[in-house]
């Protein structure tokens, strides 16, 4: 690569960050706040103590798991917007297990992980079936199933799983301590969760690169008709992709109940499912970039509540930062492709 090409590459990588900073700076100025103070607050809010850094790890776990799952469905050319619902389904399955089984931690914790995987997988399977056999676009199928999952959560929290002294928006009663994932020291982070999410991402990376199944998914994603002619059974593999993605999302939901909230709350998915779509887009569908993006998103997530505390700004500034960077990333890439490829025929 020539140094010019390399410079362009660096420019293209940094431009979205610069543009996002400029945009948020304007918004902050309009809100009458000092942008640099705000950025400083986010940074200190995210990194000032080991505890905060552990909080970043806590936020990274569901994002890593959901993004890993999304990489699988994206490889097959499917936009699984249903991860949110699949996360919820995993949490519900885990809660059901905890509610109905009394056992020592050594039994219930491994089972809770399995329950999360199964719950999410089932929800993914449903989306997959609706998509392949019902002929409904997976985005609509996924959105529909998300609504069903959150309605079901509310019903369970206010119905069968209602605490004895009355249902509230704060969810079920806390789980018995045997169903609490152990945490690291005095932090909120769980080593098991971290390990599981790292294993999931590495596993997905390996599967997509090096296995027949991964290759088949990529073939389906790029040309479903040709893949079929080459003997790939497209329906089965697409459904499997939904199942695997759902299982990982379900695991994320399960860990939110056992390691973070220690109960089922109404908004158990916390929007991580939707946020992970942004993560995967920003990573350019490449597993290698996911950890970095997830780290950035999580740091913003952990750091931005400080804006509210110290500067009376709304903490949604964090969301604007996250969404802005994705938007500008896509814009810069789009412009670059147009600018780079005048040879492309007009209609492409």
């Amino acid at each position: 690569m020539t140094w010019r090409a390399r410079l362009t590459q660096i420019g293209v990588a940094l431009a979205p960050i610069g543009l996002t900073l400029v945009m948020t700076m304007f918004i902050l100025l309009l809100a009458g706040a000092d942008p640099f103070e705000a950025y400083g607050n986010i940074l200190s809010g995210a990194f000032e103590s080991p505890k905060k850094i552990a909080d970043i790890a806590v936020a990274m776990v569901p994002l890593l798991l959901c993004s890993a799952g999304m990489l699988v469905t994206f490889a097959a050319g499917l936009w699984n917007i249903g991860v949110e619902g699949q996360m919820i389904a995993g949490a519900l399955m885990t809660t059901w297990l905890v509610e109905s089984l009394t056992a020592p931690a050594g039994v219930i914790l491994p089972l809770s992980v399995v329950a999360g995987l199964i719950g999410g997988a089932l929800w993914g399977l449903l989306v997959g079936l609706i998509r392949t056999y019902g002929g409904v676009n997976e985005i609509f199928a996924g959105l529909g199933m998300n609504f069903v999952a959150s309605a079901l959560t509310n019903y369970l929290i206010f119905g069968p799983w209602r605490p004895p002294d009355g249902a509230t928006m704060s969810g079920t009663d806390p789980f018995p301590p045997s169903a609490w994932m152990p945490l690291l020291g005095t932090t909120r982070a769980s080593l098991v969760s971290i390990l599981l999410s790292v294993i999931a991402l590495v596993g997905v990376w390996l599967v997509l690169r090096g296995t027949y199944w991964g290759l088949k998914l990529r073939a389906i994603g790029r040309n479903i008709r040709a893949a079929q002619r080459l003997g790939v059974s497209t329906h089965r593999n697409m459904i499997l992709a939904f199942i695997v993605c759902g299982a990982l999302a379900g695991l994320a939901g399960s860990l939110q109940t056992t390691a973070v909230y220690r109960r089922l709350i109404p908004q158990i998915s916390g929007g991580y499912g939707y946020l992970s779509q942004l993560v995967v887009l920003l990573s350019g569908l490449r597993a290698e970039w996911v950890p970095l993006v997830v780290f950035f998103f999580s740091a913003v997530q952990v750091g931005s509540p400080r804006l509210e505390l110290r500067m009376q700004l709304d903490s949604s500034m964090g969301g604007i930062l996250q969404a802005g960077i994705v938007l500008f990333f896509l814009l810069v890439r789009g412009f670059r492709e147009r600018w780079r490829a005048p040879e492309r025929p007009k209609e492409e």
Binding site: N223, A227, R229, L230
Partner: protein, 487 residues
Amino acid sequence: MKIQLRDIYKYFGPVRANDGISLEIESGVIHGLLGENGAGKTTLMKILSGYQSADRGTILLNGRPVHFRSPADAIAAGIGMLHQDPLDVPAFSALENLALGSPGGPFLNRARARRTLETLGRRFGFSLDPDAPVSSLTVGERQQLEMVRLLALGVRVIILDEPTTGISAPQKALLFQALHQLSQEGLAVIFVSHKLEEVQELCSRVTVLRQGKVAGELRAPFATDEMVSLMFGQALGTYGRRPIPLGEIILQVENLTVRSPRLELNGVHLTVRAGEVIGLAGLEGSGQRLLMLACAGLQKPHGGRIILGGQDVTGRPYTTFLRHGVAFVPAARLEEGLVPGLTLREHFALAGDTRGFLIRWDEADARAAQMIADFNIVGQADTRVEALSGGNQQRALLALLPERLRLLILEHPTRGLDIASSRWIWHRLLERRERGTAILFTSTDLDELVEYSDRIVVFSGGKMSAPLETSRVTVEELGYLIGGRGL
């Protein structure tokens, strides 16, 4: 107008598509650009018409250097190109397509477009229905539409890239006549082709490209030998077709009905034996594709039966047909046959044994290396298939087929390929035939049908003729049948 191309270079990675080409083209002349597949013709013409930029080299118009940054620039300078694959917007009507490309305000000027279409159409004898959606037009009609569009934009140089591929004989005659007329009116016509006869018939000058370089320039009258040796660097060998005894019955089609939104194929009976080659003749869209798709298990029939090796497989899924040793090689290679974005190695991994979890890359690599050598594919194991030339994509498709097949169904197996590649492809197909594979294929090239088929069936408007023994039929008779007479 005089066009000079000077030292044009264009590399695609290791592929030297254009390797220092210089060329002069004058007005009032039909200038042929001849070369086998992958010689670099399309690339050179895309550079001249602003679709691609050269790595190096200059274009001079009347002695002045020009830089085209888009096709619109080139059209403004009077240079327009008709592509090998039409680029129009299929859902629009012919009229809208024409109006889309015209200069003017933000609104489509339908009335003016209609007038243009009528005047120009009349001048060249094109009968185009202005309101027909482009998707319903034949390749030939789309081409006529595109020509009218370019002429309406005032081009003085018109480039046609392999324009006779996929059009009917009358359309071809009309096209050639129009080109003569245009050159007499002082336009420069550049006719890109790999077909010797067409160049001989039409052009008064020809430049032959070989491997990205100019192999030579000739003036009419052209000697075939000379053209061939410039194109290939050597004379062609023929492979010939040995008669072989036919084997057991492989395929029985009984009273088959297949429907598509546009056509119904009705009452088809056909029996095919091991080692037999059946040519499916007819204008495109007469039902051949429906029969092929049904026999490959890719389209469910509405009636009748399909029996493979004695077993009724009517309505069974594609995988059942695969298991019975049936394979289909589509004409749209990158749309239906290969997966753009995946490498040759990945294709061979997919087409091989995919049982197990981890990809056995050593196996896939060995297979890719062997097939690349065996099928003379110009490319490496890690070449993505979309970077291969059409001929090499076709070779790759054939290389991906399973070793043992009972029935091989091919749609236009040599479309867009030069003579040497076509012969080679047929050499490989006939080898399979000698091992007992039955072959069904379509072609619009009557010579190809007569040369390689044992029997030919002719399709016309959803009807299939009784099979004709090739030894007793002539190209002229076939022409009549295809035109719908005698069915």
